[in-house]
């Protein structure tokens, strides 16, 4: 009897123990991140997981109590989810900007600063260590710390940054787990408190994106292999059509400083390590302003159109900021106070990138492998070392020592970077982005500027990245400044690697700000820039040897010169202009040099289409597709035999255009790898056949499938490259080097048109939406309209209680 009872009891334990263990283990597993999968239990729970990130997009009135604001702040939301912030003082203004921006864009702000600072391993683990190490070696945090110091030395900058940081943190502190943006839930981590350093990191991220590339290494290799005549004929600033930003013949009303003279033997050895791919820097932009003499209203119109990588959540966040001394609208950069591109009641401005050479490399001779000393000015000087601690999720910290000379960090000590093969090994980098700058002060002033003098005063604080600032005001002034802090260089200084031991190779001084290229109210009645050469050859200083191809700038200038009675609508059409000037320049010669007698009927049909083409890169154009393929293949056939190895780069597009349009550079056209001598006829034929074969292989012979928008396949990708959070197959025309520069993943990131006058009218759109939440209808709601070239009329409020049919709700913040 007793035995039976014992067995019976033991059987119950045999049921209880495994069942309980399985339950506990299951809970544990479902609450833990599994490889790339989020914790399933937490993620699927409708109480905390992804379900909570669904949003209807309805914005309701709110009364908030937030400790930290000094006075009442009113935020009115319009029907496109744009906040219009009304504050009684500037502290509250930037506090509320931080709070509201974080409300919609927190994850993106934090992720982009983590990416800038090289802290991605903390989030995703060891697979990001190489990336993080490169960011540290590049000195991103070093540069941000210098900028933070500068920022905090200026009372107004410090107030704005402190307020913004406090506002972001007020939002973060109000969150519980269920409120976290979806990306935190997917990657299973939590937001961290914001700091002023993170504001500075975002500005550095912009500098890196716009002024963080150099091909000095490639040029040095080309110089060594082919000599000076080759470099002087193929790697020079020689626009196919000279149409600079500052109109030719504009007088320089200043006495230039003496230019330092180059020392002998500036060239040093470049590394000899193999590498994989070439970066494709393509950050072009357009802006222009037309004077009242050319507009229907009699007041100037300003247009802005920065071209950048297209991602979701969008780079830009629309906002209106109103305080007693400020009423500015436009787009802000989530993570930084102020409006970056925009307008107030009196002025409007917009930036494009200058592409000045503010990044140079100096070869370093170390005394011994400890790298404690380096040779400079005939003596051994101590280096400084910065120990970078890379925290890795689930693993031990990785330590990395970065050696600095007085020029800057030795970015790649001995191992080639696979991600950035253009970095020479064993060279110290001198980069303007490392210097502390007052860009935030410039933006604070620009947001409040009332006229041309205020604008120039604001720009004098803007160092890096150098920008072409187009300007217009309601006093009928228009202007453009090629603006930034430019080192005083001899011609071609820093085009090649330099000997870091010779002090004569260092940057010797700066171009005075008032001598930066600029023009106010030019006789032609408009100013414009599209990253082309800033000046003609009469400008006394050297800024760089390479700029973007002339085509966009020339097309804009040509159109504006012929336009009168301009309205916002005609400007909108110009921003969407898709005439391909590259094709206009070279296609006639490509066809003329093609022997059409040997073509089959399909090829003949294609050539006839090309002859009849109106040169427009529309969504349905077959010709644009074929031209792009043919032109790419042709350039490859011309240059690849000489420059196709991975330590060099092809000549600029304009040199290729010259080569083909005028049939010059015949020795380069010849393929060195074949015994016979190839001519332009041969390479045109070969590349045409290759292009048609390749397109036929990819898309068949039904020309419907060759339509440009389908082939180009524009997509706007989530920052984590998650397809379900991205917009695919966006049907939109244009391409690089065309005014509407929409490529596959790059293009017009914010189109804006501002009509100045007694009452400002403005239009704008960007390919995304105000919300950073993929679960919101406002995540990507502007993309379709953007792809058609349409814009929203922007809501501009003059007071907090102004009635406006587009305002849908009000948020009142009290302390």
């Amino acid at each position: 009897m007793l035995l039976l009872l014992v067995i019976f009891a033991a059987m119950k334990w045999l049921l209880f123990v495994p069942a309980t263990l399985i339950t506990i283990l299951l809970c544990w597993e479902l609450n833990t991140k599994q490889g790339d999968l989020p914790p399933i239990g937490t993620f699927f729970s409708p109480f905390t997981g992804f379900w909570q990130n669904n949003e209807t997009g309805k914005i309701s009135d709110e009364q908030l109590k937030i400790p930290g604001v000094k006075d009442k702040v009113i935020v009115r939301m319009d029907d496109n989810m744009v906040p219009h912030i009304f504050a009684q003082n500037n502290y509250d203004l930037y506090f509320a900007q931080g709070y509201i921006t974080a409300k919609y864009r927190l994850w993106q702000m934090e992720f982009q600063t983590a990416a800038a600072a090289g802290r991605i391993s903390e989030i995703v683990g060891n697979r990001a260590i190489d990336y993080d190490r490169q960011q540290r070696q590049w000195g991103m945090v070093y540069g941000a710390e210098n900028t933070e110091k500068a920022m905090e030395s200026d009372p107004q900058c410090k107030q704005a940054a402190d307020a913004y940081t406090a506002g972001v943190n007020a939002w973060i502190n109000s969150l519980s787990e269920k409120d976290f943006p979806i990306e935190y839930k997917l990657l299973d981590y939590k937001p961290e408190l914001w700091t002023n350093l993170k504001c500075a990191l975002l500005l550095k991220y912009l500098s890196y994106d716009l002024a963080g590339y150099s091909d000095d290494f490639y040029l040095t290799n080309i110089l060594k292999k082919y000599g000076e005549p080759a470099v002087d004929s193929l790697f020079v600033n020689r626009p196919f059509v000279m149409d600079p930003i500052i109109p030719q013949g504009t007088p320089w009303n200043f006495t230039p400083l003496a230019i330092p003279s180059p020392p002998q033997g500036t060239m040093t050895n470049a590394g000899k390590f193999p590498f994989d791919h070439q970066p494709n820097p393509n950050n072009g932009s357009n802006n222009w302003a037309v004077s009242g003499s050319k507009t229907a209203s009699g007041y100037p119109i300003l247009c802005g159109d920065p071209h950048l990588s297209l991602n979701l959540p969008s780079l830009w966040f629309q906002i209106q900021l109103v305080s007693p001394d400020c009423n500015v609208s436009g787009v802000s950069l989530p993570g930084t106070p102020t409006v970056i591109i925009g307008f107030n009641q009196h002025i409007a401005w917009s930036e494009t990138n200058v592409d000045a050479d503010v990044l140079d490399w100096y070869s370093v001779k170390f005394k011994d492998p400890s790298c404690n000393e380096y040779f400079y000015n005939n003596e051994w000087k101590p280096t400084t070392k910065r120990i970078e601690v890379i925290k890795v999720r689930g693993e031990k910290d990785v330590l990395d020592t970065v050696v600095y000379t007085h020029q800057g960090p030795v970015v790649a000590m001995s191992k080639r970077s696979e991600m950035r093969p253009y970095i020479p090994t064993g060279c110290a980098m001198r980069w303007l982005g490392h210097d502390g700058g007052f860009e935030l002060r410039a933006l604070l002033k620009l947001n409040r500027a009332g006229n041309y003098d205020d604008y120039v005063n604001a720009l004098s604080d803007f160092n890096c990245p150098a920008q072409n600032f187009a300007f217009a005001d309601d006093a009928n002034d228009i202007a453009i400044w090629v603006n930034g802090k430019f080192p005083l260089k001899w011609k071609d200084q820093g085009k090649f690697l330099m000997d870091g031991s010779n002090p004569a190779n260092d940057w010797q001084g700066w171009i005075p700000h008032n001598q930066d290229p600029h023009v106010k109210n030019p006789p032609r009645g408009f100013v414009a820039s599209s990253n082309q050469s800033p000046t003609d050859s009469t400008y006394p200083y050297y800024l760089n040897w390479r700029y973007e191809v002339f085509t966009r700038g020339h097309r804009v200038n040509e159109r504006l010169a012929n336009m009168n009675h301009i309205t916002a609508d005609s400007m909108r059409l110009l921003q969407f202009d898709v005439k391909n000037l590259v094709a206009e320049s070279v296609l006639p010669s490509m066809i003329a040099h093609l022997d059409t007698t040997t073509l089959n009927s399909f090829q003949k049909q294609l050539i006839q289409k090309m002859r009849d083409w109106n040169l427009e890169a529309t969504t349905t154009s077959i010709e644009q597709t074929l031209f792009q393929e043919w032109w790419t293949d042709l350039k490859y056939d011309i240059w690849n035999d000489e420059f196709g190895n991975d330590s060099m780069t092809f000549p600029e597009g304009e040199i290729s255009m010259r080569t083909v349009a005028y049939n010059v550079n015949q020795s380069w056209i010849d393929n060195k790898n074949t015994p016979q001598v190839e001519t332009l006829n041969d390479v045109c034929k070969e590349s045409f056949h290759d292009a048609v074969d390749s397109l036929t292989k990819r898309y068949g012979t039904d020309l419907k499938n060759w339509q440009w928008a389908k082939v180009k396949d524009t997509r706007i990708t989530h920052l984590l490259r998650i397809p379900a959070f991205s917009k695919k197959n966006v049907n939109t025309p244009g391409f690089n080097a065309i005014v509407n520069a929409t490529g596959a993943d790059h293009g017009p990131s914010w189109r804006m048109i501002v009509e100045l006058g007694k009452q400002v009218h403005a239009f704008g759109i960007y390919p995304g939406g105000q919300s950073g939440n993929p679960g919101s209808p406002f995540y990507d709601n502007m993309i379709d309209k953007w792809s058609r070239g349409e814009q929203n009329e922007l809501v501009i409020l003059s007071s907090a209680d102004e009635k406006n049919p587009h305002i849908v709700s009000s948020i009142t913040i009290n302390h």
Binding site: A9, L26, C27, L30, G41, N54, E55, A724
Partner: protein, 119 residues
């Protein structure tokens, strides 16, 4: 039926404040005190927890829409969107069922000890 309702109501309320896995503790505790037979205990935990998650996800669907839900359906490559409701139901149901039967088994051990002490 009482067990089922109790698990559902308690786990529903607690999950507003506490982590999702408190549903396991609720199911375990309720089955321990109120469980009478093994299969009904399991089913009460299974459906009690599962239906709370299902109803809550349906409530979100009707009040906050399904923009994010549809993106997650695409992200994990589900052939149809109703499956995500089923998965959500199942995650809570399996944990709830296992927890409640574990609670019931503990009750069996303790009550049999009491029985053996009395005999």
């Amino acid at each position: 039926m009482l067990l089922f309702f109790l698990i559902a109501v308690l786990s529903f309320l607690l999950q507003f404040f506490l982590p999702w896995w408190t549903l396991a503790i609720v199911a375990f505790g309720c089955a321990f005190f109120l469980g009478k037979k093994s299969v009904p205990s399991f089913l009460s935990g299974f459906f009690g927890c599962g239906i709370v998650w299902l109803l809550m996800s349906l409530f979100i669907h009707f009040t906050k829409g399904d923009v994010m839900t549809n993106r997650i359906v695409e992200l994990i490559s589900l052939p149809d969107s109703w499956i995500i409701y089923f998965i959500t139901f199942l995650v809570a149901a399996i944990v709830g069922g296992l927890a409640s039967i574990s609670g019931f088994y503990l009750k069996m051990i303790i009550s049999s000890k009491k029985e053996s002490q009395t005999t």
